[in-house]
Structure formats: structure tokens, C-alpha cells
Symmetry: C2
Subunit: 406 residues, 2 copies
């Protein structure tokens, strides 16, 4: 097996659990927050700085690395770990979310892909029911799309996604899926879900074939997580959890573009069905209240760009809620960003200095802000883990959120 | 005494020497390259990363810190060391160079101050002999100028510059001077030099007064360096070296906006006259060939923004000359940036990864590039120091420059 997962302690009367996930590059203590390193770098941080945030695992992005510098190139360099100088556990997503970003959601709020700035490089296609230009067209076999960098045409199938991810060489990889928009109707959600299920089977089959061919033997092959979809529809989410949960995956992702109020019910529906003994990753979620919700409902792994994106922008987490450190009130504030935080930033710098760096547009601001925010979020989930073991999760949740939302 | 300077070994038949400069915050082994931290941050680097470049000393900028966040504010925070979390030796310049940048050279190639982007905030003044708008007006008593940030009006005298620098609290500070443009005529150069000499006396006098009032006692007061000016004129440079060298300064800066071909003669004229037992700082100079020239001719300290500015831009120093790491040739290059370099970047990353970071506009590129470039330049000067002690400076210079310029 590529990974081993042990449940150490369960939350009484809820789905939550504390566990350990062993990978070829080290142990992840779950529940855990995964730092996002989209383009083979956690933005603005060196690997030493990532480690100083008590991060145990990094997630890189298949779509971005496939386009630049290219997965075969990274393979020829000895894989992603060596390329980016990160010796700990690594994950790659499947590129499925980018299908969504470049397809139905392109140009809308939900998309996370930057638009092409030179319109002459973009060949827009239109969906039947929308006036939004699309860069991606979804077919039964896969997705054709144009690069958001240079407009070049690409075609990704489940087999291709798995091949790219094997070339990248992370410890945990994901099946290729379609992430739908909550704005789509039930019929489309159902169609998309059926496609995602076929793609899951094909991803798994191709993964197993590649593993058998792997000259390094089965100890160093990646683990494959299947992704549960189904939007906000109870019937679809449950059908998906049963179908994906019944396949021979090493773990599971819970995908989707969530409205905040739907998230908890969706996670519950899914985790009540998924096989208990395998790890579950709630994709793209990372705000404190959502992390408590996810942990309580049996999620083992989370990832989100929010801590680093907010960190670069000057929106910093504290135990009393988020602050915009640029605000004039912090110019004279010689105290640490968060009195209760043990990170390198809170130990060594004042709010006034951070405020100065952001106001002066100094890169160090984004670096220190990212270190603090990652530490804050990773450490918060670590505390949740410890509270499950100590039997006081509910108390921690109430105490933290009361202070955080005050 | 605020500092102690010892000469350990002299270069045979030349002015160069290896020494140690003791400051209240640690020892600087000279000759040494000083990292520039303009706004109380060496751009893109944490203090730990600065230390990893084997840097012993950082130079911050009086003009920028006076405007933002303000020198009194920094004093109230416990001084610049604490504010920026740098525990080693610190210097501040006098703001004189900025007088030059905002005055005669503003808007021209030689200026190093970014232009105001909102023209409505700029109230331009014109000099008599030029059509270039000026933000600064030089009088006998001091300089009035408008902030390049918000257009607000300020007036700096020698006394004010020294007071600002005492508030900032660096270990070594500089007298207030006027840096002229090489384009000015002899008459102007002579006038400016006389002004600089009066300002030097006033700076020294005010410094001594503040030192006597210093409640911390004379062991922790800053050292003051006087600045020699005089453009490219032999008579003026020699006059300035004699005058400034005759005052009770702790060391000396050699200022000026140099044409490359004038630099060596100017440094020689000056260092043959300056008192041998005090340290000399060649201001704003940092390219390898200029560092060899300076060390050979008796310079003990250098500073320059080039290593970090080039580092952020992707122009990286190697023993075979500078490379633009963005170039397509490096995309497949799995070797280290510089085979002979022992920095953290060359030990841990490939040229291909660096190339990828810069092409993907990732902040980590600028950070790693700055670490390497600073290490390269600081370490090169360290090697020069060792070669003076070992008696093979000329061999090092010939070998290095032959390889570097090949």
C-alpha cells in the first residue's frame, strides 16, 4: 500500500476522528490542513518557512504544472519533491476543478483561474445555456480546453490526468472529476455526476495499470483518492458517496463549489456513507468555522488558498477574528499580531512593523503574513486533533468561535 | 568609542587592507559588503535569510524611514534593530543621496527615487539651468523637498538628519551631504563641496551634542562617518579628503555619482589622504569588478542595491558572469545556478526550478534570487579579505575576473 491510515480516537456522538496517515515521505497527523503550493511553490515561502508553519503536507496543482513547466519535464528532473525541494508528503489535485473554472464558471465569481489578458489569444466557445465564453468543452471522454497562459489547445482524459500525476510523483493523487456549478439544474448535475463516476473508474483502472508497470515497486507508488460530487442534491451526494466509496480507492475527496449553508449537510451525507477506515479530504475549504464543521463531521484533510492569499493581501487571522493589518490603527501598535500565537512572526515582529511592510509594498509583508496565516490555520486544526484525543472538542470549538466571532 | 577598527593585514604595494570593525551589535570583518535594507527590510528576505547570505551588516535608508513610518515612531518602538528584528550591526545613510535624487537628477537616469505617479501631488520647482522639474531645493542651511509619497513639504538640515539618525538608532550613521551630478560644472561642484563641508562640521557638532545627552552613555552611541565628495575633480576630491579626513569622524564615506572610468582614480586620490586607521565606505557600489578595485584601493565597506534588485528581476550572478535565469535555455537545466557556490539556493534548487519560478511570476523567485546574489557578492568580498590575509589578492582578482568576464 502506498499509504496507511489509522484512526486513533473518535469523536463521541459525531463523525469526527483523530488519526495518522503514513505516506512514503512522512506521517500526516489528521485532521490536518494541507498547504497549497499551486505551481510547485507555496507562494512567497521557502520550504524551511513552510516547515516553520508546522505544515506536514503540501498540495500542488496538476493543471498548472502540466502547462508550465510540464509534467514530463518534472519527471525527468526526479519528480516534484526534488524539483521544489520539499521532502515531506505531497499531494496533487486532478485538474478537475480547473475544468470547472475554465468551463461553466469561467469569468464568473466562482472561477479561480485568472483571465487571459490578451483577448486575441482566446478562442471562446459558448455553452448552450449561457452567454459566458468558455475555454473548456466537456465531452464524455474528457475535456478539451485552451491554456489560460498561451491559448494552446489541450485535451485531458481521466487516463491523461492520472499519467500526468504519476509523472509529477506526489504521494497522494486524485481521480479526474467534474466540479459543477451550484447554478446548474438537477439534470445537468446528474449528467455530470455520471460522467465523474465513469471517470473515477477509468482513473482507478489506469492508476492500477501504471502502478503495476512502476519499476520502483508498489511501496513508492502514489495513493489515489476518488472524488465525491453531486452538488447540493441529497440524492446525488448519497449516490456518489456510495458509488465512489465502493471503489478501491485509498481515500476520498469531497468536491464541489459550496454555498456556505449547504456545506455541513453535504459533508454529513457523504461521510455517513464513505468507508470509515479510509481518509477523507474536503477540497478547497479552510475558514476556521468550516474547519470545525468539517472535523466534527469526519473530514481528515483540508486545503485552501485562503491563508496564503489573505496573507499576501494583508488580511491576517487572529484569535479575535481577521484583521486588515494595513489599517492606520496598527501603525502605532507595538504588540504582536496575535498575543496567543507562537509563530515566528508573532514572536519576532510588531503589528506596527507588519503594517509598515504592507503600506510600503514590501514583499516581506506577504511572506510574514503567509507564514502567520498558515501557522494559525494549521495549528488550529492541530488543536482540534488534540481536543478529539483529549475529549474536549466541543469546548474548544465553542471557546474558539466565541472569541473569533466576537 | 562607539566602534573600534583594527587593521589585520595590508596589501603589499597598494592601499588595501583586511580588518575588523567592532560595533555595539557585533563585529564586521572588513572589507565587507553591506546589504541594503532601504525601508527597514532587505527586500524579500527575513533576517534569518539575510544571515544565511553570510551578511554581517545591513544599511537602512534615513530618507525613506523618516517619511514612513517616521523616525520618532521607530525610536518609540525601541529603535530600528528591534523594529526590523535584525540583531547585527546596522547603518543608516544620511539622506544626502536622496537630496541628489530628488534634486538635480530627479527624473533622469541617475536618480534612484521612483517618480510620483499622481502628478497632482507633485509641486515641481525648476532649477535655473535645467528644465527638469525638481522636488528638492538646496539652500545654504539645508534642503527643502516634497515627499515622493504624498507631496508633503519637508525641510532637512544637517542637525535634523543627525537627529533622525539618532532616533533610528543604527550603529553607524553618516553626515548630511550633497551628492552632485557629474553633469554639473566645476563651479557648481565647488559650491556644493563647500556646502557639504559646512554640513559635515554641523553634523559632527550636533552628533557630539546628542551623544553627551545620551542617557545610555557613550558605549551605545552611534559612530558617525563623514562623507567625502568632489565629483570627478582631482583638486576637489583631494581638498575634500583633507578637510573631512581632518575632522573627528569615526570613519568615512566616499560619495558621488560615478562614471565607471573615474571611480578608481577618485578612490585612490581620496584614500591616499584619509587617515589610515579609520574605516572607509564606498557608497552605492557593488559590481564585482568595482569591488576588486575598491578593496585594492583601501575601501573597507561597500553597499549597493544591485544584488537584491537584480535578484528580484532574475539577473543572477555566477562565477561565469551574470545570467538572466528566465531565458529558455534554463528550462531544462537541472544543474545548480553556480557550480562553485555554497549558498542555500545553489545547494537545494536547479536552474530549471528558478527559471520556472520567475516565468510563473512566483514571489519565491525574487526571494531565492536575492539570497543567492547577496551570498555571491558578500562571499566574494569575504574571499578578497582572506586573500589579503593569505597574500594572494592579485591572483584571486585575475582568476575571478578572467572567469567572470569570459
Amino acid at each position: 500500500m502506498a499509504i496507511k491510515f489509522y484512526i486513533e480516537k473518535e469523536l463521541k456522538g459525531a463523525l469526527g476522528r483523530a488519526g495518522t496517515l503514513e505516506t512514503p515521505h512522512g506521517v500526516i497527523h489528521t485532521p490536518a490542513f494541507v498547504s497549497v503550493g499551486t505551481k510547485a511553490t507555496v507562494k512567497a515561502l521557502t520550504p524551511e518557512q513552510i516547515k516553520s508553519t508546522v505544515a506536514e503536507v503540501v498540495l500542488a496543482n496538476t493543471y498548472h504544472l502540466y502547462l508550465e513547466p510540464g509534467a514530463e519535464r518534472i519527471k525527468s528532473f526526479g519528480g516534484l519533491h526534488k524539483f521544489m525541494n520539499w521532502s515531506g508528503p505531497l499531494m496533487t489535485d486532478s485538474g478537475g476543478f480547473q475544468v470547472f473554472s475554465l468551463g461553466a464558471a469561467y469569468g464568473k465569481e466562482l472561477s479561480k483561474i485568472t483571465k487571459i489578458t490578451d483577448p486575441s489569444q482566446m478562442i471562446a466557445e459558448r455553452s448552450l445555456d449561457s452567454e459566458t465564453p468558455r475555454l473548456a468543452t466537456i465531452g464524455a471522454d474528457g475535456v478539451s480546453f485552451r491554456s489560460h497562459i498561451d491559448g494552446s489547445l489541450h485535451y485531458i482524459t481521466p487516463e491523461k490526468s492520472i499519467e500526468i500525476q504519476h509523472n509529477l510523483g506526489a504521494d497522494i493523487i486524485f481521480a479526474f472529476d467534474e466540479c459543477t456549478s451550484p447554478a446548474e439544474n438537477f439534470r445537468y448535475q446528474e449528467e455530470a455526476l455520471e460522467r465523474t463516476h465513469r471517470w473515477a473508474e477509468r482513473s482507478l483502472e489506469h492508476h492500477q495499470r501504471l502502478n503495476l508497470e512502476n519499476p520502483r515497486g508498489l511501496t513508492s507508488v502514489p495513493a489515489l483518492f476518488g472524488i465525491v460530487q453531486g452538488g447540493r442534491e441529497e440524492s446525488l451526494r448519497k449516490r456518489s458517496a456510495e458509488f465512489i466509496g465502493g471503489l478501491d480507492f485509498d481515500g476520498f475527496g469531497i468536491g464541489g463549489s459550496f454555498a456556505k449553508e449547504d456545506m455541513e449537510t453535504v459533508v454529513k451525507w457523504v461521510n455517513e456513507i464513505l468507508p470509515k477506515e479510509k481518509p477523507r479530504h474536503l477540497l478547497g475549504i479552510g475558514e476556521p468555522e468550516d474547519l470545525f464543521m468539517g472535523v466534527e463531521n469526519g473530514v481528515d484533510l483540508f486545503d485552501c488558498v485562503a491563508p496564503t492569499r489573505n496573507g499576501r493581501g494583508g488580511t491576517l487571522y487572529t484569535s479575535k477574528g481577521k484583521v486588515n493589518i494595513r489599517n492606520a490603527e496598527f501603525r502605532e501598535d507595538t504588540g504582536p499580531l496575535d498575543q496567543d500565537c507562537q509563530c515566528e512572526v508573532c514572536k519576532n515582529y510588531s503589528r506596527a512593523y507588519l503594517c509598515h511592510l504592507y503600506r510600503a509594498h514590501e514583499m516581506l509583508g506577504g511572506t510574514l503574513g503567509s507564514i502567520h496565516n498558515l501557522y494559525f490555520i494549521i495549528n488550529l486544526v492541530k488543536h482540534m486533533r488534540q481536543s478529539i484525543i483529549d475529549g474536549n472538542f466541543k469546548e474548544l470549538k465553542e471557546r474558539f468561535l466565541a472569541e473569533y466571532n466576537k
